[in-house]
C-alpha cells in the first residue's frame, strides 16, 4: 500500500470522570488508504465513536487525547495543528456524517442555509453562491425539487431525506475522508439500504475515503474493503472483509458473526455473546474479552495479548494465534457461568 490518507498510531483518549479515568480509546492504531472504505465494528461502548471524534479533535473535557498519540492525515500531524488549522480541516478535508439526522441539523435554519454554511465557512462564498451550491448538493444526493427543498426546515423532511441532507453537507467541500458514525442506525430498514448505496456511490465517484462506523456486520459486508473490530477501547482484529467473514480469528469477532442472522442458516435462536463490555474505568488486566470468551485459559488472565500477525494483513489480539489447538475445547464463558449461578 502507498502512503495511507489517515494513519492512527497508539491513539489514547481518556475521560477524567469522578469515578476514575475512563480509557475509552486505549492504544488504537489503523490506517485508511486513499479511496478506501474501512469499517469499524463493535458493540456500544467499545470506543468507536470516541475514535471518530478524536480524529477531528472534537473530544471535549473531561475527555483528552493523551500525549504520545499519533494521527497523520495527508502528511500532516493532526496533533501538532493549532485550533484554527483544525477548523480548516474539519468539514473541508475530513467531514463527518452523524447518526441522528434529526438532531444533527439546526432546527431554526433552512436546510439550504445549513448546507450553504459549509461553503461560506470554507470557500468564502457569499449567501447567494452558497445557496446555489446547496441546491447543487441537494440534487447530487437525489432530493427531488431541490430549489424548493432548500427553503424548508429540517422538521419538514423525512428521516431519510434529512440523512441525505447531512450527507450533502459532508460532501460540499469534496473532502478526502468522510467519517460516517452509524449513519443508518436511526433510519427505517427500508431507507437504510438506500442511504448506504447513496453514500457508497457518491464516495466512489468522488474518490473519497470512508471510515464507516457501525455495529451492523451486514453493512460492513456490503460496503467495506477492510474491517477493524474494536472491543473495550482496543482494536482486536483487522482483516480484509472477505477474509474476516471466512476466517474470523478473534473469539469476539466469532461471536459477532454468530449473532448475525443469515439467510438459509439453521432456524435456532440467534447466538448471543454473554455478558457486557466491562466499564472503561476498569478494564481487566489480561485479555479484556476473557470473561465472555468460550476459550479463555490462565494465560488470558495474566497476559494482555498483543496484536498477532496471522498472515495476509490479518491481525488478531488473541493468544489463540500461538495456541490454536485450544479452539477445539470451548467451555461456557465465565460471564455465562456467573449468570447461571446468579439466576
Amino acid at each position: 500500500m502507498t502512503t495511507p490518507l489517515l494513519e492512527l498510531e497508539n491513539l489514547h483518549t481518556y475521560f477524567y470522570t469522578d469515578t476514575g479515568v475512563a480509557r475509552a480509546v486505549d492504544g488504537v492504531s489503523f490506517a485508511v488508504g486513499v479511496g478506501e472504505t474501512v469499517g469499524v465494528v463493535g458493540e456500544s461502548g467499545c470506543g468507536k465513536s470516541v475514535t471518530a471524534l478524536s480524529i477531528l479533535r472534537l473530544v471535549r473535557p473531561p475527555g483528552r487525547i493523551e500525549a504520545g498519540s499519533v494521527m497523520r492525515f495527508e502528511g500532516k500531524d493532526l496533533m501538532a495543528l493549532d485550533e484554527e488549522a483544525m477548523q480548516h480541516i474539519r468539514g473541508n478535508r475530513i467531514a463527518m456524517v452523524f447518526q441522528e439526522p434529526m438532531t444533527a441539523l439546526n432546527p431554526v435554519f433552512t436546510i439550504g442555509d445549513q448546507i450553504g454554511e459549509v461553503a461560506r465557512v470554507h470557500a468564502g462564498m457569499n449567501k447567494r453562491q452558497a445557496l446555489a451550491k446547496a441546491v447543487e448538493m441537494l440534487k447530487l444526493v437525489g432530493i427531488p425539487a431541490p430549489e424548493q427543498r432548500a427553503g424548508e426546515y429540517p422538521h419538514q423532511l423525512s428521516g431519510g431525506m434529512r440523512q441525505r441532507v447531512v450527507i450533502a453537507m459532508a460532501l460540499v467541500m469534496n473532502p478526502a475522508l468522510v467519517i460516517a458514525d452509524e449513519p443508518t442506525t436511526a433510519l427505517d430498514v427500508t431507507i437504510q439500504a438506500q442511504i448506504l448505496e447513496l453514500l457508497a456511490d457518491l464516495t466512489r465517484r468522488l474518490g473519497t475515503s470512508v471510515l464507516l462506523i457501525t455495529h451492523d456486520l451486514g453493512v460492513v459486508a456490503e460496503n467495506c474493503t477492510r474491517v477493524i473490530v474494536m472491543y473495550a477501547g482496543e482494536v482486536v482484529e483487522e482483516a480484509a472483509t472477505s477474509d474476516l467473514f471466512a476466517r474470523a480469528h478473534h473469539p469476539y469477532t466469532e461471536g459477532l458473526l454468530g449473532a448475525m442472522p443469515r439467510v438459509g442458516g439453521e432456524k435456532d435462536r440467534l447466538a448471543t455473546i454473554p455478558g457486557t463490555v466491562p466499564p472503561p474505568t476498569n478494564w481487566p488486566k489480561g485479555c479484556r474479552f476473557r470473561d465472555r470468551c468460550p476459550y479463555s485459559w490462565e494465560r488470558c488472565e495474566s497476559e494482555h495479548p498483543p496484536l498477532y500477525q496471522i498472515g495476509g494483513g490479518h491481525t488478531s489480539r488473541c493468544h489463540l494465534a500461538e495456541e490454536p489447538e485450544r479452539r477445539q475445547h470451548p467451555h461456557p464463558p465465565l460471564a455465562a457461568q456467573r449468570g447461571a449461578t446468579a439466576a
Binding site: 477548523q87 463527518m96 432546527p107 454554511e117 465557512v121 422538521h155 447531512v166
Partner: protein
C-alpha cells in the same frame, strides 16, 4: 414545561408565529398594547392640557370627572387625563428601554458563561446568585432614595442593571443544554469557529425563552416603576407617571377615587396585556402545551 428552544424548533419559526397569531390572548394583548403605545406616542396631540401646569390652584383642585376634565383634576389642579397620557410615555419608555438593555446584557453574559464554561462560568454565575439573593425592590428603593429622585435615563439604567440576572441564568441553562446537542457538534465537525457557533447556532435557539422572559420583564418593570413613583422616589415631580398620579391622591383615596382608579386601571391593563403576551409566546414555542380549554386530557376528565 419550560419554553425550550428545542421544542420551538420542532415546529419551526414560521409555524410558531402562526400559532402565536391564532391565539386570542395574543390578539387582545396586541390590541391593548397598541392602544396604550399609540396614546403614549401621540400624547401631545391627544392631551387637552399641559400635564405639568397647575390650571387654577384656587378654583380647580381635586375636581371629579367632568366634561372639561374627563378624568378629573388632582390636588394641584392638573388635568388627570393629560397626566395619564403623558404618564404612559414614562411607563412604556422605562419598561421597553430597561428590558431591552437587560436582555442584551443578560443574553450576552448567559451565553458566554454557558458556552465557555469553567472558571468564567463559575465566577459569573456566583455573582448572579449573589445578586439574585437581594430583593430587587430593596435595591431600587435604596439607590433611588440615595439619589433623591431620578431622571428618566438613570431610572431606566437602574431597572436594567437590576433586571438582567434572571435572564442570564435562563440563557446560560439553555446554552449549556444546546452545547451538547448534536447539531452543535456537527457544526464544529464541519469547521465552524466557536464565535460562529455561538452567533449562528446558539443565540437563535435561545431567542424563544428570552423573548418570553422579555414580555414578562416589561410588565415587571412597569409595576416597579409605578411602585417607586408611588413611594415618591421614582421620576422627579412634576413629571407625570402612573405611579405618581396615584401618589398625588394617596392621602385621600376615598374622596379622590379618580386619582387612584384611572392610573390603576392603566397599569392593570398594560401589565395584564404584557403577561398575556408572554404566556401566549410561551405556549406558541411549546407545541406540547395546548391552549387552555382545548386540552384533550382535561376535557376527558371533565
Amino acid at each position: 414545561m419550560n419554553p425550550s428552544a428545542a421544542l420551538a424548533s420542532i415546529l419551526g419559526p414560521r409555524r410558531t408565529l402562526s400559532r402565536l397569531l391564532h391565539d386570542s390572548r395574543t390578539r387582545i394583548a396586541l390590541v391593548v398594547l397598541l392602544i396604550v403605545a399609540l396614546s403614549a406616542v401621540f400624547a401631545p396631540l391627544l392631551a387637552p392640557y399641559d400635564p405639568t401646569v397647575q390650571l387654577d390652584i384656587v378654583r380647580l383642585p381635586s375636581q371629579p370627572p367632568s366634561f372639561a376634565h374627563p378624568l378629573g383634576t388632582d390636588p394641584y389642579s392638573r388635568d388627570v387625563l393629560s397626566r395619564l397620557l403623558y404618564g404612559g410615555r414614562i411607563s412604556l419608555a422605562v419598561g421597553l428601554g430597561a428590558v431591552l438593555l437587560a436582555m442584551s446584557f443578560g443574553i450576552a453574559i448567559g451565553a458566554v458563561a454557558g458556552f465557555i464554561g469553567g472558571a468564567v462560568d463559575a465566577v459569573l454565575m456566583r455573582f448572579v446568585d449573589a445578586a439574585l439573593s437581594i430583593p430587587r425592590l430593596l435595591v431600587l428603593i435604596l439607590v433611588a432614595s440615595l439619589w433623591g429622585s431620578l431622571g428618566l435615563v438613570p431610572l431606566t439604567l437602574l431597572m436594567a442593571g437590576t433586571g438582567w440576572f434572571a435572564v442570564s441564568r435562563l440563557v446560560r441553562a439553555e446554552t449549556l443544554a444546546l452545547r451538547e446537542r448534536e447539531f452543535i457538534v456537527a457544526a464544529r465537525a464541519l469547521g465552524a469557529s466557536p464565535m460562529r457557533i455561538l452567533v449562528r447556532h446558539v443565540l437563535p435557539n435561545v431567542a424563544a425563552p428570552a423573548l418570553v422572559a422579555a414580555a414578562l420583564g416589561i410588565a415587571n418593570v412597569i409595576l416597579l416603576e409605578a411602585g417607586l413613583s408611588y413611594l415618591g422616589i421614582g421620576v422627579r415631580p412634576p413629571t407625570a407617571s402612573w405611579g405618581a398620579i396615584i401618589q398625588d391622591g394617596a392621602e385621600r383615596v376615598s374622596d379622590l377615587w379618580w386619582l387612584t382608579l384611572f392610573p390603576g386601571l392603566a397599569i392593570l391593563v398594560t401589565v395584564f396585556a404584557c403577561n398575556a403576551l408572554g404566556d401566549a409566546l410561551r405556549d406558541a414555542f411549546d407545541p406540547r402545551q395546548l391552549p387552555r380549554g382545548n386540552d384533550p386530557t382535561f376535557a376527558a376528565e371533565a
